[in-house]
């Protein structure tokens, strides 16, 4: 076995195990942490295959941002992050059967079609990728940038709670404090109530 094959097998085993733990772990935060391992393994596979830039992009985007965002969301919603969350029931036969069938089908397909195929590994410098990305793929690339911007705006619009919209606390005669509570907004850092405008700050200075 050559060095790339050993590395490939090792990352594959680690990544596969981590992926299994992602979907079977009882604790959602643990799942997210296992997802980190699985995605790092994917980056390792990219490295072996010679796609260096894609590998680092995988680390930057997924490990550095996506999983952090997931964990952040988990902690921010204070959703059940304990071991017994809602809807974490496991052991359904159906999903297992479907997944096994998919896996078996795919493996059979792969082995029959690519059983003897051998990859000639080559290293692609990022410069080469940059050249095709900004020349041949320029238009799709820009479209993608547009999509990302839209997604960002959409996410902000969805997660944002506007004034007066959404579940406002009902004035409760028994609990006068509840009526005073300002609509909480846990998605963005809320302004303090008596936030002075820049002009007012000037005056008070």
């Amino acid at each position: 076995m050559s060095v790339p094959e050993v590395v490939m097998l090792a990352t594959g085993v680690v990544g596969g195990a981590a992926a299994l733990l992602v979907v079977t772990s009882r604790n959602v935060v643990h799942s997210a942490l296992y997802l980190v391992v699985a995605l790092l393994a994917v980056a390792g596979v990219f490295l072996v295959l010679g796609a260096e830039f894609v590998a680092w992009a995988q680390v930057l985007v997924y490990v550095g941002a996506v999983v952090v965002l997931l964990l952040f969301g988990l902690m921010l919603t204070r959703a059940p992050i304990g071991p017994t969350g809602q809807g974490n029931e496991l052991g359904k036969a159906m999903p297992l059967a479907v997944a096994l069938a998919v896996f078996a089908g795919l493996v059979a397909l792969i082995v029959t079609s690519y059983g003897g195929e051998v990859i000639a590994l080559e290293h692609v410098p990022p410069a080469a990728l940059g050249e095709v990305l900004y020349v041949a793929w320029a238009l799709p690339f820009m479209t993608l940038g547009f999509l990302l911007t839209l997604a960002l705006i959409g996410a902000v619009v969805i997660a944002r709670r506007e004034e007066g919209e959404g579940p406002l606390p009902e004035p409760d005669p028994d609990e006068p404090e509840a009526a005073e509570a300002s609509p909480p907004d846990s998605s963005s850092w809320p302004q303090r109530q008596p936030e002075p405008t820049p002009d007012e700050r000037e005056v008070s200075a």
Binding site: A57, V59, F72, A127
Partner: protein, 342 residues
């Protein structure tokens, strides 16, 4: 691919040596910067700082390390044991990995990746996972808030950091760190050899501010704000695990200072256009120059700590999203325009 002094055969020996060298550099860098912080801060505050451990207290940090080793390793009952135990390691490992691609002199790097700067930024972003893991697993509300603040801060400051670095990449035309140093060596501004830091003053400022925020250094130290959150995600940690977090903070200072040195201050060359002697003398001189630049930048970080109060969380977010990121985008447009023009 550029050659490295560690290009040895067989492969495993080279890898082992590289790993050891990275670890050593990591520790030395962290200890030196830690000592620098003790002393610079002390003198700025009209006091002496550590004086007893050997000469002028230079043995203070190793002594602290020994003390940390002896301390009891406490894991709170309600903590999530595995995550709690792993978090300090997750905080430290990216630093060690990034050290491997940093050039400390001509030929003095462990490996020269084609996408060096991209790799360094990607890997250093992983550090926040350690913060989040520590914050969540400690079963402490202050820790959780510290972890959340750390994550929010990192997500918003990763962007200006990458944008500032991207402008330099456009200028230099390469992602490789030694490549950027060499490109900078040949850079002239209206015929005068110039470091990138002068025409890219916006980028330098952006990079430095974002680096401070990434490292949770004052004035952006809300995740560990001692007067608000005790010590944030580190509240429940003791002994060696706590020391790991401190190490990763100081090593982070070294790493980001080194990156700023490479990107903006001309790397191991004293000034673009001024060469170094060939061979070992050049290596030593280059190492000294690089390290001096790193120490100056670290000292500025310490200086800011001595000067500034802490910002507030919402002010920090506003600064990033409404000042730094637009500025970073503008910077890229300016640099690209200038690059095409000239």
């Amino acid at each position: 691919m550029a050659t490295s002094v560690f290009a040895l055969e067989p492969l495993w020996l080279a890898l082992l040596l590289q790993a050891l060298a990275a670890l050593l550099l990591f520790l030395i860098g962290a200890v030196v910067v830690g000592y620098l912080e003790h002393k610079v801060l002390a003198h700025m505050q009209d006091r002496l700082g550590p004086m007893e451990a050997i000469w002028h207290g230079i043995g203070q940090l190793p002594a602290d390390g020994l003390k940390f080793l002896q301390k009891e390793d406490i894991i709170p009952t309600a903590a999530d044991r595995w995550v709690f135990a792993l978090a300090p390691a997750v905080a430290v490992v990216p630093g060690v990995v990034v050290i491997a691609v940093l050039p400390f002199g001509p030929g003095l790097w462990l490996t020269d990746l084609d996408a060096g700067i991209f790799f360094a930024l990607a890997a250093s972003g992983v550090t926040v996972l350690g913060t989040l893991m520590a914050g969540w697993s400690s079963a402490n509300k202050f820790s959780l808030m510290g972890g959340l603040r750390g994550a929010a801060q990192l997500i918003s400051y990763e962007l200006p950091l990458v944008l500032a670095a991207a402008a330099i990449v456009i200028q230099a035309g390469t992602l490789s760190l030694p490549g950027i140093v060499e490109a900078q060596h040949g850079f002239t501004l209206f015929g005068v050899p110039m470091i990138y830091g002068i025409p890219h003053i916006i980028g330098l400022g952006l990079f430095f501010v974002a680096a401070l925020a990434e490292l949770s250094r004052p004035p952006f130290d809300m995740p560990i704000a001692d007067s608000e959150l005790i010590a944030g995600h580190m509240t429940e940690y003791t002994g060696m695990r706590y020391a790991f977090f401190m190490l990763s903070e100081y090593a982070g200072m070294v790493i980001l200072s080194a990156l700023a040195t490479v990107l903006f201050l001309g790397g191991w060359y004293p000034w673009p256009g001024v060469g170094l002697p060939e061979g070992a003398a050049g290596m030593v001189l280059g190492f000294v120059i690089t390290f001096a630049k790193i120490l100056v930048l670290s000292a500025i970080m310490v200086w800011l700590r001595a000067t500034f109060p802490r910002m507030r969380e919402d002010q920090l977010q506003r600064l990033s999203w409404s000042v730094l990121i637009p500025l970073g985008l503008l910077n890229i447009v300016l640099v690209a325009t200038a690059k095409v023009w000239f």
